[in-house]
Amino acid sequence: MLEVKNLSMRFGGLLAVDQVSLDVQEREIVSIIGPNGAGKTTVFNCMSGFYKPTGGQIIFDGQEIQGKPDYRISRMGMVRTFQHVRLFGKMTVVENLLVAQHRHLNTNLISGLLKTPNYRKREQKSLDRAAYWLERVGLIDLANREAGNLAYGQQRRLEIARCMVTEPRLLMLDEPAAGLNPAETRDLNQLIVSLKEDYNVSVVLIEHDMSLVMEISDRINVINQGRPLASGTPEEVRNNDDVIKAYLGEA
């Protein structure tokens, strides 16, 4: 469903991403791994429309999307999280999920001002959807708290829930396990697998910790200093000489 071909991104003299290609099929978890500064986040920024790539193509559902505005890409069903959590901190947890459903709720102003039955029905529906996902990520008891006051791990889960209420087809997670303890990481992995299996969402996952992604990824792409280093199943990547060299050389 998603195909990235020869993606390049240049910042002045720095070629942050150099000819990276990857593809994602329906109901698949594809990981991008690589050391810090390898260009993983930059790939995401290009895919989600935050940057206009300087070269290459990104094709989603047969449509070229490189250079399209970010909100359009999000509306097509490709939604992302951020390496540094970006919640609406002063809003409550449930309101964060309501903002994300803006599009589903976008009735005209008049019906909202008059609180027509149709408007109420839609409002209730989005509240229900929010409640469902809060239940799903275990935050239902904190629904009316300010999002900024949540613990770090809870914020991470809220960010994923906020993506899921938009009913995406492809979810892009940028280092979702960063800063989590081992128990939280295990829960997160289960959640990601369940997104794929129960909700038919494809996932692109960024991690720089290799061992983490090995068990849940269907395929892995390794990039190093902006260039693709290897790709394949976890097994293939684990035994790839270049990968071993790069990772052991750094460690």
């Binding site: 989600s48 935050f50 505005p69 970010d70 909100y71 999000s74 509306r75 939604v79 992302r80 951020f82 970006r86 919640l87 609406f88 901190g89 002063k90 809003m91 409550t92 449930v94 309101e95 309501l98 903002v99 994300a100 803006h102 599009r103 709720l105 976008n106 102003l109 909202g112 001002l113 509240l127 929010a130 409640a131 809060l134 629904a143 009316n144 906020r162 993506c163 938009t166």
Partner: protein, 423 residues
């Protein structure tokens, strides 16, 4: 530290002397054909010296003075308290607003004619400030040309009535919609600008509208303005002594009471009151709707908002347009109240005052904005003797507020949507 303070204080005192002595002390006087420079008289010299000493002392003890100022108890009884439970706060707020409206309804029948007239002006400013509050306080867009939309509303009514004999009630929605259209058209190219740039462009737009009105003499009468703008009618009843338009009746004759010019003033006041209440209620409702949440989300974290499919331009444009709409509303009422408008009424200072009301009141907070509108409009009237110093007092008040309560009189309290447990 201390020497540095002393040096700084000395420097400030010298600057005060250097600036104020020539401005206040030196006079150019015409002696026949010659122009003579005369020095200051003793009182001026003494007051300039005193001012310099005051500046010196203030700068010397600045930290201490500012410190105590910051520690002063807040004026608002609600500020800095333990946050109340939301339900209680909401009830309190509704009760307060209801009381305010009831007081507003009784007011014209007990107050003097002049007081009622002034209150109408206060209500117009409340409408303007509530509208600008959407743009600045809720959507976070600094608009320095808000008065332009006010002018569009006022001139729409003035021109429509002059050329087509359109009545107040028809002009009211037309003026508001036209102002909203202007807001939309201006917002479209401008809203991709950020912060300071947006402020400058809107400032320019405000001036352009005023200059256009000033120079398009054939249509707008230029600096002479437009007069004879009709009063609103009540179901076809006019409030003048004689009926101006055919088919209408006059209010005092219909009810068989003596003519009084007060009727008209009270009626206008009541219209302004109703419109101000409608404005407040509509905006309150908008804040709880998806648009309102979108404004807030975009203000809090634009990148996250966009990543969730919110279009920056569309969301900001909606705030800009809605703000302009209410300015148009207020403009129509203003034109009707004055009966005469000219570009003089729509100078930049008006934009600045409306913005000051929003900032003083506490961005985003409706009650705060209403209180600030009352204060800013009425205080200068009460202190008529000091009217020369009006701007000075105004500036001083702004500075004090920024030190004392930078978040405004009544900082905004968000109303959360609560998720109720479904058992």
């Amino acid at each position: 530290m201390a020497t540095q303070n002393l040096r700084h204080a000395l420097f400030c005192a010298v600057v005060t002397l250097v600036i104020s002595y020539p401005i206040l002390g030196l006079n150019l006087e015409a002696w026949g054909t010659n122009v003579v420079l005369t020095g200051a008289n003793t009182t001026t010299v003494i007051s300039v010296l005193l001012a310099a000493v005051a500046v010196f002392l203030f700068q010397l003890f600045r930290d201490r003075i500012m410190g105590t100022l910051g520690k002063l108890p807040p004026i608002s009884p609600f500020a800095n308290r333990e946050p109340m439970p939301q339900a209680k706060w909401e009830r309190l707020k509704s009760a307060f607003l209801t009381l305010l409206i009831i007081a507003g309804l009784i007011w014209p029948f007990v107050a003097s004619r002049g007081a009622v007239d002034l209150s109408t002006l206060v209500l117009i400013y409340i409408m303007l400030a509530l509208g600008l509050n959407v743009v600045v306080g809720l959507a976070g867009l600094l608009d320095l040309g808000y008065v332009a939309f006010y002018a569009v509303g006022a001139y729409t009514f003035a021109l429509l009535s002059q050329y087509f004999g359109v009545s107040f009630w028809l002009a009211l929605p037309i003026g508001a919609l036209l102002a909203a259209t202007f807001g939309f058209l201006l917002g479209f190219p401008v809203l991709r600008l950020r912060g300071d740039y947006l402020a400058i462009v809107t400032l320019g737009f405000g001036e352009i509208i005023r200059i256009l009105l000033n120079n398009w003499t054939q249509l707008t009468g230029g600096p002479n303005g437009i007069g004879g703008i009709p009063d609103p009618t009540l179901f076809g009843m006019e409030f003048g002594r004689r009926v101006r338009e055919e088919g209408n009746t006059s209010f005092h004759e219909t009810f068989g009471i003596a003519y009084s010019s007060e009727h008209k003033v009270i009626f206008l006041y009541l219209i302004a009151l109703v419109l101000a209440v409608i404005t407040a209620l509509v905006i309150r409702r908008l804040m709880r709707m998806p648009v309102g949440r979108a404004w807030e989300a975009l203000r809090e974290d634009e990148i996250a908002a966009r990543s969730l499919g919110l279009s920056r331009t569309a969301v900001k444009l909606s705030a800009f347009t809605i703000g302009a709409f209410f300015a148009g509303f207020a403009g129509t009422v203003f034109a009707s109240k004055q009966g005469f408008i000219s570009p003089e009424s729509f100078v930049f200072l008006e934009s600045a005052i409306i913005l000051a009301i929003v900032v003083l009141g506490g961005m985003g907070s409706q009650i705060g904005v209403i209180l600030a509108a009352i204060a800013v409009t009425i205080l200068p009237e009460l202190a008529r003797e000091f009217s020369e110093y009006r701007m000075l007092i105004f500036g001083a008040a702004m500075v004090l507020m920024m030190v004392w309560r930078p978040q405004g009189l009544m900082p905004m309290r968000r109303t959360h949507i609560e998720l109720k447990k479904q058992e």
